[in-house]
Symmetry: C2
Subunit: 204 residues, 2 copies
DNA sequence: CGAAAAATGGACCGGCAAGTCCAGAAAGCT
DNA sequence: AGCTTTCTGGACTTGCCGGTCCATTTTTCG
């Protein structure tokens, strides 16, 4: 599928994906037609189907992958170096900033719901994103343990899972309420949880 | 809108809402047509528009309200009596059980995304649900404080917000991954957070 | 240069699903 | 009973939007 041979072709394909991502963020999947994407990207119907022979679903899937890649990228380099209290704090700030900038649109959430159940592809993209995300959080906690900053008794996997859930929920709530209170609360409470298990701190 | 005068009419309207809720859970909003709802509920097109003159959007909104009401109901009586460690634990079990039973379908999440942006009504329903939910959690924490089970220094509002975010995220992740690990992790970590602030426990 | 392959434009088609309409049955009211 | 209101059935219309098709242009490459 989508055999792209020339540089021009590759550029067009990328333009379509990026433009589609924009439109989808603005209008949501439910209200976006191929014509919207076509006009935004300055392409024709035949181009859309040339690069995505399986039609809308395939295009949406490509956009989902595109967005998923950005999610982790936008948290770098902090997410990759969670080995001190300061770096965790910087990462926290980066996450808040990224989602406050993104505003009320969760491109992946809606894309998942649209393509979701039927196509296993969408599910795979989201699952894989979450797996990597959580894995990096866990790795950061292990780094704290290795540096003897956090008790070795901390259940890293469970804590990482809870933190990730808090972020997801915080972002979800931003979509409905429009403000980032819950996201911040989840992040800060999660960091508190870690700090309370700092070596030399309280028990439990 | 929807002036229902007779008992028969009221019954039909209720049948439509409940049947629609079923179909929507099974198929998702994106793949549900009025005809699906019509056939499931044994009604005719004109009945649908008789009870919901503004068409599909109005019906979806009614379903959203219906589902929202159930969310808190299903957590009772536990959610209303969070005044001991045991009751918090029972509530936690009730939440896990409810969502495990519900499986991979988040009726509100998808409804919100569909009707979402355009109609302010959907947003209001979700916002109000979240407000009440969080308020009840906060009240439970205050109860613990009043009984001198938890430090009075606990930031109740922030903690309740974080816990709610964790639940939302946990449920979201259940939709993609199909298992309740994250929901449990969020709940258990949240309860840990409270217990770590039990009177006579560690510092912070 | 010239043939083949890739890229593009845009008219057109067809189906589906939301919404309309009206006739007729049932229920309420006095 | 008889009149009004509510409720119901289902045929019909309508517009939108995903997808098809083919002609034309541009690029690649020997």
């Amino acid at each position: 599928m989508a055999q792209v041979a020339t540089a021009k072709g590759r550029a067009t394909r990328a333009r379509i994906v990026e433009g589609a991502a924009e439109v989808l963020r603005e209008q949501g999947v439910a209200f976006t037609t191929l014509d919207d994407i076509r006009s935004r990207t300055g392409t024709s119907k035949s181009q859309l189907f040339h690069y995505f022979p399986n039609g809308k679903d395939e295009l949406l899937l490509a956009v989902a992958q595109f967005e998923a890649d950005r999610v982790l990228e936008d948290q770098q380099p902090h997410l990759g170096r969670l080995d001190s209290w300061e770096s965790w704090q910087r990462w926290r700030d980066a996450v808040v900033e990224r989602y406050e900038r993104q505003g009320e649109h969760c491109p992946l959430g809606s894309l998942f719901l649209q393509v979701g159940r039927s196509r296993p592809g969408a599910r795979a993209i989201v699952t894989e994103l979450m797996r990597q995300w959580q894995q990096q959080l866990a790795q950061g906690m292990l780094a704290l343990q290795a540096k003897d900053l956090v008790s070795p008794e901390l259940d890293v996997d469970r804590t990482a899972a809870a933190l990730l859930a808090g972020i997801q929920g915080g972002v979800t709530m931003m979509m409905s309420t429009g403000d980032s209170t819950h996201l911040k609360a989840a992040l800060d409470t999660g960091l508190d949880y870690l700090r309370a298990r700092a070596t030399g701190s309280g028990d439990v």
